[in-house]
C-alpha cells in the first residue's frame, strides 16, 4: 500500500506515492536521484545522511518520507546553484581541506550550514558541540572545525565557478 506525498526538495516539488516505510534518505537517493546524501551507519549515529528539514538538521535515515510530507527538504545538492558559486561552508571545506575520504562531508556541510544559519560566529566549542552527531572515520575533525570557522569568518565566501577548478 502506498501513501501520497508532496515534498519540496531543493526548491522542487515532488508529488508522488511512496511505501510508508520508505526512509527519507532512500527517497532522496533513489526517487530524487540525489545521491549526495549518504547512508553511513543507518542507525542515526553517524550523521552522513544529515539534511535540512524546514531548515533544521535531521538524520534522514531516521525520518520516514511520509513524515516529511508538505515540508521542505534541503540536501547538499541544494547548497550551491549548478553554476556556482559555492556557499561559504563549501568554500571553507575547500580552503581548509575539510575532507579526506569525503564520505561524511555532505552531512558535515549540512550540519555546518544549520549551525551558521543559527549562529553567525560560533566559538570552536559551539562548532564541536554542534558536530556531536556527525562522525568522520578519517578523524579529520580539526580541519572540519577550521572549515566551518573559515565559513563564519567569510560569510560572502569566494565566488568560484564550479567546474572550472582552481
Amino acid at each position: 500500500m502506498t501513501f501520497p506525498i508532496k515534498i519540496t526538495v531543493n526548491g522542487k516539488s515532488h508529488e508522488t506515492e511512496v511505501d510508508p516505510r520508505t526512509l527519507l534518505v532512500h527517497f532522496l537517493r533513489e526517487d530524487c536521484q540525489l545521491t549526495g546524501t549518504h547512508v553511513g551507519c543507518d542507525t542515526s549515529n553517524c550523521g552522513a545522511c544529515t539534511v535540512l528539514l524546514n531548515g533544521e538538521a535531521v538524520k534522514s535515515c531516521t525520518v520516514l518520507t511520509v513524515q516529511a510530507t508538505n515540508q521542505e527538504v534541503q540536501t547538499v545538492e541544494g547548497l550551491a546553484p549548478p553554476d556556482g558559486p559555492y556557499t561559504p561552508i563549501q568554500e571553507g571545506f575547500r580552503q581548509e581541506h575539510g575532507l579526506q575520504c569525503g564520505y561524511c562531508t555532505p552531512g558535515m556541510l549540512m550540519a555546518g550550514t544549520a549551525l551558521l544559519n543559527e549562529i553567525d560566529n560560533p566559538s570552536e566549542e559551539q562548532i564541536r558541540e554542534h558536530l556531536e552527531g556527525n562522525l568522520c572515520r578519517c578523524t579529520g575533525y580539526e580541519m572540519i572545525v577550521r572549515s566551518i570557522q573559515w565559513a563564519a569568518e567569510n560569510p560572502d565566501g569566494i565566488p568560484v565557478e564550479i567546474g572550472e577548478g582552481s
Binding site: D19, T62, V63
Partner: protein, 271 residues
C-alpha cells in the same frame, strides 16, 4: 535497514489519534519524532502493523506557565525544551538535560513525550521526570487521567500509557530551590548514559537515576538522607541503595553501583 511493512495513518488531532488507537488496538503504535521507535522498527524489534503519526498535531507542542507548574505538550521537541526561557527559569534541570539528549539532529526530531513513552531506563529525561516529581496527563477513550511520575514507568520499555491511550502533557512543578545537577557518564559523545543522575535539591529533594534498574528509578534512600541533612558524601554512598542495576556490555553491576555513587557525589558537590 528498512522497517517491515505497515499502514500509515496520520492523525490531525489527539481525538483522531485516540479514535485510530481504538480502531486498531494493539496492532498500532504511535509515532511522534520517531527517534526511539524507528530504530527499533529498522531492527525489526518492533513490527507495528499500523503506525499512527501524531507529528502533525501542533496543539500537542507547547510550553505554558500554569502558575504553580509549567505544562509541556507531549509533542514538544527536545530542542524547544532545551531553548525555552520559561523552562530555563522555572525547571532549569529539564532545559539543561534536554540539551544532552542524543545530538543536535536527534534533538530537532525527538519529542519529550516520545522519549518518556519509550520508557527506556537508559534515557535521560525519565530521570528528570522523577527528580522533578512531574505529573503526566494521559488521554484515552474515557477522557483524561493524571499519573504521577512514580507510577508512570512500570517495566522495561513499559509505561502506564495503555494501548488505547495517548500521553498528551507533562506538568512540571516550578522549582523553588536553588541547586540542581545533571550527571551523565558515557564513553563517547552522543552515547546513552552508562549511568546518570538528575538531582533537584529543595525541601523535598528529588534524585532520578539513569540505567540503574529495569525502569527509570528514584534513589529513595539518598533522597531521604539528603532531606534529613546528612553530609553529601554520606548521601552519595546511598545512590544505589535498594536498586538493581543491570550488567551488560557497557558495565557490570558493581561498576554501575560505583558509578552511581561517584555521579551523585558530583551532582551534590556541583549543585
Amino acid at each position: 535497514m528498512i522497517p517491515a511493512k505497515f499502514d500509515y495513518k496520520p492523525a490531525s488531532s489527539a481525538e483522531e489519534a485516540i479514535a485510530l488507537l481504538a480502531e486498531y488496538g494493539d496492532e498500532a503504535k504511535i509515532i511522534a519524532g520517531g527517534h526511539s521507535l524507528l530504530p527499533l522498527m529498522k531492527l525489526r524489534l518492533a513490527n507495528p502493523e499500523v503506525l499512527i503519526d501524531i507529528g502533525g498535531i501542533n496543539d500537542l507542542s507547547f510550553i505554558e506557565d500554569k502558575g504553580d507548574h509549567i505544562a509541556v505538550g507531549a509533542l514538544t521537541r527536545h530542542r524547544l525544551v532545551e531553548q525555552s526561557d520559561l523552562l530555563k527559569e522555572h525547571i532549569p534541570l529539564l532545559a539543561h538535560t534536554a540539551g544532552h539528549v542524543g545530538d543536535p539532529q536527534v534533538r530537532n526530531r525527538g519529542t519529550i513525550g516520545g522519549s518518556l513513552c519509550h520508557g527506556d531506563p537508559a534515557s535521560d529525561l525519565p530521570a528528570v521526570v522523577l527528580a522533578t516529581r512531574a505529573s503526566l496527563l494521559i488521554t484515552g477513550p474515557n477522557g483524561e487521567r493524571k499519573v504521577e511520575a512514580d507510577d508512570f514507568f512500570t517495566d522495561f520499555w513499559e509505561t502506564a500509557v495503555a494501548e488505547d491511550e495517548l500521553l498528551t502533557e507533562i506538568q512540571f512543578p516550578k522549582f523553588t530551590g536553588q541547586e540542581w545537577s545533571f550527571q551523565k557518564f558515557n564513553r563517547r559523545a552522543q552515547d546513552w548514559a552508562i549511568v546518570g543522575c538528575a538531582l533537584q535539591h529543595s525541601d523535598n529533594p528529588g534524585i532520578g537515576m539513569i540505567n540503574m534498574g529495569t525502569t527509570p528509578v528514584r534513589a529513595s534512600a539518598a533522597e531521604a538522607a539528603l532531606k534529613s541533612g546528612e553530609a553529601n558524601s554520606d548521601v552519595a554512598d546511598l545512590a544505589d541503595d535498594g536498586l538493581s542495576p543491570p550488567s551488560d556490555i557497557h558495565g557490570q553491576e558493581d561498576y554501575r553501583r560505583h558509578l552511581s555513587r561517584v555521579l551523585l557525589g558530583r551532582a551534590l558537590d556541583n549543585s
